[in-house]
Symmetry: D2
Subunit: 378 residues, 4 copies
């Protein structure tokens, strides 16, 4: 089947996440990157495009959206990998042209932008896919499947956490570009750690359990001197249906790189998973010994095998999980192009709804914390 | 040096914790168990005493306190290992006779009892030692020492948890004696999981960091059908001085046996420790690789070595940590008998203050949860 | 820089390793797969090529080598991913045309074939690269670097093992194609587990330590009923310079997927690494605490960082390690095309020498075992 | 039941293993230590006895054996915890008096001594128990039980290892007493690492599998400069019945404290256990997920529960495993005193046969290595 013609907004120079998206798009060979508006100026963009072997470079996403829409061989989809505050405007430009959008998370930097984008998605026929990449890990798919099929029984407790340590020292004052924009409310939005990584923990908890957070009580802190956004957040969660949870996000916990961890307990069993060792899933049927399920190993279900590439014991990693989002995005795009309904085509892919959930989550965290951790509805 | 003559209240039949105290008292050979009021009736007590080779058996702790105080070779100390609601009365009986008390935790089942006991301790010349046994683990001693000496810098974050799974099913309705009294407010007090195990997590967090919890916001749940005490508790903590924390206690998390875990993060480094693997302490100086410190191994400090018995790589366990409390209790008793001040003699041993902290903790948890998790001062 | 035009021999249908090579070639975007002789018949080859979107399909590698050599836009390099007994003939066909060869391991199925291939490599100007892919793991690069820079001191002990469990039951009698050819001497060569996975352990031990195995004493077993090739092998190793080692390969050890593990000990320190958790490297400077080095984390050296793609804590896996071999093959090919010397261009890439070492290793294993584990020189 | 009156030979001053035996004898409260010949001179012995609160001190084991045999309240059993070369003479002295002997391992320092001791045991009515303490670990009992009941099927492969690192540097030249006698052939016997720790690995492999090593091929090294005994040993094993194995013992592997590890694989499943984490046993039924069995947890069998003291998740350690040997020795002594047959009374306790096996193992290692690793019958 022919590869999907892809464009990219952002991701020039040494931007981390742009490179990740490009590798993810290549791994399963479903996309061909042919156009880009990679940087903030036409010159930089052209330089980056040339270095990456991308055929067509544009000075802005607006220019790109219009020009590509006018070509017979124009892009069918675009990846948006800019800082958060640019997501909404860029996505709207492509959606308006009927070009499918694959957008990095969180959705936007403000609730206002998010609502406008939600409307734009509703009015477009194109797909909007949000790369909540951790949902692409095979053992996360299996965990979701096991919860859905009742192997844990009624879910009671959800423990989610995403600690990092890279902002323990004030890196934003030492010229680290990543640290600068992620600690800047104007570019990141109202949430610091809650926006950047808390949203991943929240998304994963909901994805695996199939539950929705109804309300939360959050206590946000900015430990780094002079920092205006939270770099550590503690919160308690109440899920629809009675389950309860805790969520911790931190950028100031020395010894943690990207230790996203999810633990789910029901009245029949428990599951534990950590992103840093993603090929393992611990499962305890209550009253039986703990089992170490492995990707594509004994005990792997169709849900995880279908998104695995290589045998058990040969670890897949972050890039393969990310690639699964792209692979499924390709399936969805081809399905919609073939006449399928957007909702059906999306399958388990995170989209605008997951994005709005994330925005409400960030907003609730900030609102709750400002009210001394009062319970706040999402 | 001569062994200390010891009595015991409770601990007859197959009571779990009584046997633990007896082994702990034997390991370092500092005590001789010579008297007991082991059960609720004189007959059962006598049977248990005989089976255990204990010389003198009494029908009640009152009788025992008076009789032993009147003997030249009477007990010097007593271990109280009954259900929680008996602690206060038993302890007061021995303190009144000047007999040193080693009491299981939590302190009592009600705040009223606790305050009365606090007064009795103040009025006695005898020592009151509370067996917060996890403080006896060598790597916990080392962790406390490392925090105190500044190796973690200013403490910012404390993550404490103690999940179990034994009450996932309603064991209290199936004849399990342990489950019966631990889920009964009349015998356990107002706290369920928070009283039984949450207090351990709270105590350990304070012991290691040297910090005090000022207030907490708690959300308690009783997931087990028909259960009146919490079997799962989520809470956020605010420590004096600005550190923040989270604490989770649970008796309904399948796959967890006694997974007490403490993680402490400062601006210079982080520590992680788990009770199920107690000979290890993870230490990350910020910006350097994680180090696996082992009991009596390379990197062990005087604080841990002095309470270790055997070389690194030969694991010590729960009973040895418990024995260290007894060993230090023996030191403290001999010191006080030799004229030392009570406070000085106690050293790092947990006593009435730690017990009152625990009671205030339980009370605050219950109060906060009843107010929809409002911040509650301890 | 333009992508290298690549062909492939083998890898049609559902052959495992062909798919791996294709992903590995794509990840860093240095190759474009444009031609193939993917299966044993022209029809099957054409079907596979079409399914994979490969422009030109050939009925045999001979036909392909000649045809591509004659095109201006012919392939610059070829990946050979057939069963072992085809490697030599296919490689020689392309080397004869000056087309660079990237060949799966082990080198060939017989020593005779290996020697002929060695001669063909010597007579060609093209590169010959053997995909000993585990050498591409970042922490393996770091381990090699740390040994070379003296951080372990004089190497004394090497413990290498590669246990699997997939042949515990007689899968070859149950229609599993992988199991059929890997247990067939005609297609796999004289070594069973020693050829398929023992060679990986041997290669990795030598790659990391920089040492050569002088002699070995091997005890090979075929536990599977009716199996003619070894499915389990025990051996002791003597390295040049005085280091000693052990090596275990097994396909019949239940609970092991691909548990390739290397441990190296010198008089100043020790290293431990396992393929199933490849982002970690344990390092103990003698007399100091164990350190957990992570890929791209604190303590990562240039040797590992330069072959990493994403931040520490976001796991890379088997495919990324494999991709590094392809990425460096691309560098080497461009360097040679630019006039560089073949040896210089190869850098740390495994080539014909590593392949011959592997063949001598297999041969010595079989010879030694036939002589009741007599010491046998490689 | 009354405690058994116990004496001790060796274990004065700061001798490591003597203190371990004393704690082990106390933990289950079955022994009362009443006599000792603790050191090499009467004065030192008396000082040690006084410090330990032991009632009767003797200047030599001969004196002690005779004197105690003559007392109505004389010792019923004696623990021998001297360096290896004293074991035989001391044991014979007590056996001759009908006093039960609990002896540290290895049996003796020479085969001649061992044979003489074997004869003495045969001629005595007293029990001879060798403290192969690792056989007392609950999960080792469970492993043995699982193999015996066929859960692993036909045993094929045994991987045993015991690496340490304490002799990496030449500690014996730096005044460390432990290092001095353990590297001295006159006091330790012909085996260095093979005698001190290799015997543990060998014993455990046989204890768990129920198999006997028929022959071995060993390559012993003395890496430490000037060291005459092996400090590292590699060997291959052939068991009666067809199973094959490898064994590694080392005192020079930095990063290993007491990493005794046993892995056993049959045609139906595999087991893995490590002494440093003794409360865990990994079990993989072939084709199913790996299970983490825990001491006294879900999946624990009678074989492990009956030698456990506390609930799962509360770790027991080295001292409790050692105590189990003492507890069972007490059972055996009381049984024999009650008229039971010696063999029946011993149960699974290691005795003279296990000791002779160990001596033959050491001898075979040394003999094989001297013949360039020729297969040598035990």
């Amino acid at each position: 089947m022919a590869r999907i013609r892809l464009g990219m907004v952002g991701g020039g120079n040494d931007a981390f996440i742009g490179g990740v998206h490009r590798i993810a798009a290549r791994i399963d060979d479903r996309f061909e990157l042919v156009a880009g508006a990679l940087s903030s100026t036409p010159e930089k963009s052209a330089d980056s495009a040339k270095a990456l072997g991308i055929a067509r470079s544009y000075g802005s996403f607006d220019e790109m959206a219009k020009a590509e829409a006018g070509r017979d061989d124009g892009i069918e989809a675009v990846s948006i990998v800019t800082p958060n505050h640019v997501h909404a405007a860029a996505a709207k430009a492509f959606l308006a042209q009927g070009i499918h959008v694959i957008c990095d998370k969180p959705l936007t930097s403000t609730i206002g932008d998010a609502k406008a984008l939600e409307k734009a998605v509703a009015q477009s026929k194109a797909l909007f896919i949000l790369t909540h990449n951790y949902t692409g890990y095979p053992m996360i798919r299996q965990a979701r499947d096991m919860v859905a099929s009742g192997q844990l029984g009624q879910i009671r407790i959800v423990q989610a956490e995403y600690p990092q340590d890279w902002l323990t020292s004030p890196m934003e004052n030492e010229g680290l570009k990543q640290a600068e924009w992620r600690t800047d409310p104007a570019r990141s939005g109202a949430g610091g750690s809650v926006g950047d990584i808390g949203t991943h923990a929240h998304n994963l908890a909901c994805f695996v359990t199939g539950l929705t957070v109804e309300s939360l009580a959050a206590d946000l802190q900015a430990f780094g001197s002079g920092r205006s956004l939270d770099d550590n957040a503690h919160m308690m969660l109440r899920f629809a249906g009675g389950a309860r949870g805790m969520l911790w996000s931190s950028q100031v916990a020395p010894g943690n790189e990207n230790a996203l961890k999810l633990r789910v307990y029901g009245d029949k069993g428990g599951l534990e998973w950590c992103q840093e060792d993603p090929n393992y899933l611990w499962f305890t049927p209550h009253g039986e010994p703990k089992r170490l399920l492995t990707r594509n190993g004994a005990g792997a279900t169709e849900a995880s095998q279908s998104v695995s590439r290589i045998p058990g014991g040969h670890p897949e990693g972050y890039l393969e999980g990310f690639a699964t989002i792209y692979n499924e995005a390709a399936d969805a795009i081809r399905a919609v192009q073939g006449g399928a309904d957007r909702g059906t085509a999306m399958g388990v892919l995170p989209g605008i709804d997951a994005g709005m959930d994330g925005m409400r989550f960030i907003n609730a965290c900030v609102t709750s914390s400002a009210s001394d951790a009062a319970w706040t509805t999402l």
